[in-house]
Every structure is written in structure tokens, then in C-alpha cells.
């Protein structure tokens, strides 16, 4: 269980996040959506303790996050950063296992876990010794995901984890990821731009705008009882291309 109460963040004059309350029950997937710059990544960074909130508190599994315990707690969190964030000087193998090796986990266990994860995200064995520069964007995102999952964290923080994937693989991986989350019983906070993806993954959707949560609830609720006109606009804007496609099909 992850609980944010009255958490806010300000960068100079920009209020990146207004005081916000949020709860993510264990085993649930919560999806943050909203236009660019609305504060999604900021919220994720606050949870990972990468930036300090201006006010409020964050509690994870009964423990309040502080600078003393953050290193410990991060081992229970897997974070996939928006840009991937792989270390360019380390191979896939080393990128994924860096923290486990730092913690001197058993070598056999590490190898075993690595194989398991490679199968999970369908990354071929022979890529283990490649460097990030030798991978495609999609492969890199899968490696980031492996790295986040390596220590079997309770909480996964995913900042657009499927952003760089082509639609086919993306669709494939969406299904697989959802299965993984369900299978592993992970608590997940995921950021996406894509309303369809959000609807697909999220038990709960959180729609944000200008550092504020506009509406929280399942997709159906957002679509059927929008709290503000903006909610409707946001959903329609994303539906529009699909509608155009359907229209185009009609004409041929």
C-alpha cells in the first residue's frame, strides 16, 4: 500500500504538483495520464524519493519515506525511467544485475533470475553481452524493465515503459506485462500518454492537468461521468484518430 498525503512540489515559480492525496492498494495497477508537463513524472520521482516534496508525506508499506531509509526502500521499488536510463558503459547483463551484484547476492541466484527475466520480456539470450548502444529502442526498454524487476520489488514505478516500441510489439508487451503484474501480484504505478493503454492496464486511472489531479477512477467512470469538460476533451482527443481510421475504411 502506497499512500501520498498532501504531497506537493514546486520548481521556482512552477507548481509541478499541487498538494495531492493518492492511495494505491497493494497488487493494484494505477495509471497516471494527462498532457505533457502535467506532473506525471514528478509524481513518480517523488514516490521514488528522487526529489523531496515541498510539503506532505509519502508512506510505503507503513513506512514513511525519509532520507535515512530511502536507499533501503528503493530496493523494494523498481523504477523504469522515461528515457530508459541504461548505463551505456555496462552490458545488458551488467545493467540488469548491477544492484544485485552490489548487494553481493548469490551468483547462481543472479544468473537464474536473469534468465527468468529474459524469458519474461522475451529478450534473446545472445543480447546479454551487448551494450545499450547495440540495442534497438524497444530492446532497451525491455532491458530497463528487467533491471527494475531484478530484485523482485513490491512496487513498480514505470514512466512510459512502452513509449519507444512499435505498435505490434507494444500490443504484445502490453498483454504480457499485464499478465506479469497479475501473476506477480505487483503494485504498479505507471505513466502513459495513451488512453487505450491506460484503460487496458489500470484498475484505477488518474487524470492530471497542470499539476493537479482532475479525476480518479476506473476508465468507465471517467468516460461516463467526467468530472470536468477537460476529462471528456482528453478522452475524445485520443479517440479522434481512431474514429478517422474507421471513417477512412468506410470510404474505400
Amino acid at each position: 500500500m502506497l499512500i501520498l498525503s498532501q504531497v506537493s512540489k514546486r520548481y521556482g515559480d512552477v507548481l509541478a504538483l499541487a498538494p495531492t492525496d493518492l492511495q494505491v492498494p497493494g497488487g493494484e495497477t494505477l495509471v497516471l495520464i494527462g498532457p505533457s508537463g502535467c506532473g506525471k513524472s514528478t509524481l513518480l520521482r517523488l514516490i521514488a524519493g528522487l526529489i523531496q516534496p515541498g510539503s506532505g508525506s509519502i508512506t510505503f508499506e507503513e513506512t514513511r519515506l525519509s532520507s535515512e531509509n530511502i536507499l533501503q526502500i528503493r530496493q523494494q521499488m523498481g523504477y523504469v525511467i522515461q528515457e530508459g536510463g541504461l548505463f551505456p558503459h555496462l552490458t545488458v547483463h551488467d545493467n540488469v544485475t548491477v544492484m544485485a551484484r552490489y548487494l553481493r547476492r548469490d551468483v547462481g541466484w543472479i544468473d537464474c533470475r536473469l534468465n527468468e527475466l529474459a524469458q519474461l520480456v522475451r529478450l534473446p539470450e545472445e543480447m546479454m553481452n551487448r551494450f545499450p548502444a547495440e540495442l534497438s529502442g524497444g530492446q532497451r526498454q525491455r532491458v530497463s524493465l528487467m533491471r527494475a524487476l531484478m530484485l523482485d520489488p513490491d512496487l513498480l514505478l514505470l514512466d512510459e515503459p512502452l513509449g519507444a516500441l512499435d505498435p505490434m510489439i507494444r500490443f504484445q508487451l502490453q498483454k504480457e506485462l499485464k499478465a506479469i503484474f497479475a501473476q506477480l501480484g505487483k503494485t504498479v504505478v505507471m505513466v502513459t500518454h495513451d488512453i487505450a493503454e491506460a484503460a487496458f492496464f489500470g484498475h484505477t486511472l488518474v487524470l492530471m492537468r497542470d499539476g493537479r489531479i482532475v479525476q480518479t477512477g476506473p476508465f468507465k467512470e471517467l468516460a461516463q461521468t467526467p468530472a470536468e469538460p477537460f476529462v471528456e476533451e482528453f478522452i475524445t482527443a485520443q479517440r479522434e484518430p481512431m474514429a478517422q481510421l474507421v471513417e477512412a475504411l468506410k470510404w474505400t
Binding site: 528503493r74 548502444a133 514505478l157
Partner: protein, 510 residues
Amino acid sequence: MDVKQRIGVVLLVFCALLVHPVVRAEEAVSITVGSKGFTESVILGEMLRHLARQTGIEAHHQRQLGGTRVLWNALLSGEIDAYPEYTGTLLQEILVNENLQTEIELKQALTRRGLRMTPPLGFNNTYAIGMKAELAERLNLRTISDLKNHPELVLGFSNEFMDRADGWPGLQQGYQLPQHNVRGLDHDLAYRGIESGTLHVTDLYATDAEIDYYKLLALEDDLNYFPVYNAVILYRADVEQRAPEVAAMFNRLAGRINAPTMSRMNAQVKLNGEPESAVAAGFLKQALNLDVDYQIQTAWERFWQHTGEHLVLVGISLTAAIIFAVPLGILAARREHLGPIVLGVAGILQTIPSLALFVFMIPLLGIGGPPAIMALFLYSLLPIIRNTYAGLKDIPPAIVESAQALGLPSRARLYIVELPLATRAILAGIKTSAVINVGTAALSALIGAGGYGQPILTGIRLDDIGLILQGAIPAAVLALLVQGLFELIERGLLPKGLRIQTSGIKGPSL
């Protein structure tokens, strides 16, 4: 915390290493003589070394140190035991504030400082103002006062003469000279200027070898402006206890060298290219009937000696700079408030002219290797600090953030992620420092630390291009070798994953 402790220990060891050679072992008596940066002083210095050796005591000669002050301070601090000086310099410059009138008063002033002075050696090497004899005749110039009628003449004086109170400033006032086109330059370069006609008037020493060679006329000092510059040997009073026979030997030179003899010896070295050591030995044989056995180093022996000295200077100072600068760069990058301070201080050090930095070190560390190494060390800091700082700061925030998000503690992030990614920048900084260091180390010869600067200095003094090249070419080659070496190291150290990236982008190669 223990990083700081470690830095502290390294600092202490480094300082101890620097100071160590200064605290010399007292048991074995040895005498060190010094000389100024012109031929006459070097010949006299060699003479003193021969004389000390005659008594069976080990003797060293710190040749052509950079200026009167350097020698005087080295003598006071005991880093050298003796050097040739001129009474005029003592009265008019070194002890000018004491307003001494007689030789007796001078001797007393020296005694108060624990110094002794031999009786005059026999020549008065006063300053003279000289010009081409032919030009002087054409303009009908005979005395310094005659210069007043020719404001168009170009004057060029040795740097020392320009600066000292009894040099050009005093001369200009004393004679009310109108010339404005006055340049300071190396004494030996002045002769070339005179020869080529770009200079008309310069300062001379009365025993200069070139007066005859270049057909110069020394203008008559009709106002008796210049004081008497009797050559003497200054030595420390403790020499009389440590090695009384050496002090006695020095005193045997009293009254034995007249101006023509000194002029001839200067000419032997400067114009005939004979080694100072041989000329000095020849004189001792002839005047005091002493058989000096001396060795003249072959060109190769000199080369290897200078190479060894240069490598030691560069090696120690650069290694120390790396040991200090990389942690300082890390500190600057990681502690927001310390960054500007560290970079600022290192930047200020870099703006000090290198020559001045060498001289600043003398009061702290004396002459020879330690001050030179310290100066080179300080000079090598900035490029490494700045590149380490920039290398760490330039790591994409996403990567730093990922490392944090994994839960790696700060120090582990540094070693596992940040330093490897900054390798290229840090090595580039070290390479820059190394090349600067090799070049700047040539200045070390000015404070008695030897190296490739020694043949360059001697070459300038003797107007010998070949000799200058004997220092300049190896220094340039060494700089290239060092650069190549660091490129090899970079190839070995740079993480493989980073090399892939660059070969893909194909940037300009470093």
C-alpha cells in the same frame, strides 16, 4: 569521511616528500655553490666548485639560478654555501635600505646575517652603457651625457637593469635622458639587436666578452653614476666551521683575477665555446698552480641527465596533481557550494604567470627540485579538476537518476556509474595537464632544478642555437610521447560500451 582522511594522509606524505630533500643529512660535509645566469658568474661558480673539491670535500654547483634575489635567499637559508657577487649589487640593491658607505660597514652587515665576504677578486665589473663604435663616431658620442642630444636612439636594456633602482630608472634621472623607446630584454639578445641595428644602446658589463667582438664602445660615465662593482665571493660563516679549508681556498682568489683576465675567460666560453669547467680549471692551474681534475660531460651524458631530471619533475608533479585533482573535481561536482570555490582557486593559480609561480615557491621550499615540483603540481591542477568536474556534470540526468532509483548509495554510484562515464573527460584533462607540465618544466632550470630547461638557458646565455635545440627538441618530443602515452591509456581504460557509441556517431577523433 574516510575519503577526507585518505586525502589528508596523501597530502601529508606529499608535503613530507617535498620537504625531505631540504632537510639534508648533516653527517657528510658537502658544499653547494651557486651562480647567476650569466657566463662570468657560471665560470666563477665552477672555480668555487673546483676549489672546494681540491680539499677533498664533495661540492655541487647550482648553475645559473634565476636572479640575485634567488641566490641571496638561498645563501641566507643555507641551500647554497657560496656564490660570486658584486659589492655594487650588495650596497645598491640587496642591502640598499641599510645605507652602507664603506666596505667595513658592508662586512659588518654581512656578519650580522651569518655571512662572509672574500676580499675583492680583482676586477670591477660595473655597468657600462655601450653602443656600436662606428655609430658613436658618426654621431660624435663619447660620454653618457652626449646621449641627451639624440632622443631618437632606441635603447634596450637587460631585464634586471630595467628593474633595479640603480639601473635604467636611476640612470635616466641622473643624466636626464630623453629617450622613450626603451625595451627590456635578455642581455644576450641585446647584443644581437645591436648587431642587427634594431637597437642602438644597451647596458654592458665591463668584463663582457662581446665588447671587443661586436666592436662596441663603452660610453664614459662622466657623472660617475655607476657604483663600483667589485667581484667578491659571498659565503656562509658556518663554512669556516664545517669546512675551514674550503673557506681558505675561496680566499685564495682574492686579488687574482683582473678585468682583462675575466674578459678573456668570458670570451673563451662565450665566443670559443669552451666549457666553463675547463676555463675555470685552466685559470686555477695558471694562477694558483692547482691541478684540478674535472670531468666534462659528453653531450649524451648531459642529455640523459637532463632527461632524467625532467622526467622526475614531470612524473612526481603530475602524479601528485592527478591524486589531488581528481578527488577535488569530484568534490566540486558533488558539493554544490564547494564547486565554485575549488574551480575558482584552481583558476586563480592558473592565471599566475608560470615563472612567477616558480619564484613564489622559493621562500617556501628553497631552490632545486622541491619548489619546481610544487609549482608544476599547482600548475597541473586546473585542467584535471575542470575536466573531472565537467565529465561528472555532463552525465545525462536520466542515468544519474536511474542509478539513484536502483538504490545505489552515493559512493557506489560514483565508482560504478559516474566515474566510468567521465573517464574520457578526466583522461583528456590529464593529457592537457601533462603536455602543459612537460613544457613548463623547462622553466625549472631557473630555480636550479635542471631538466631540459638547462641547455635552453645555457644556449640563450651563450647565444648557441644548437644548445637551445638540445633542450627544446627533447622537450617537444617528450610532450608528444606523453600525449601518445595517454592516448594509449585512454584506449585501455575507456569502457567498451562508450567506444561503440562514438564509433557509431563518428565524431572528430581526439
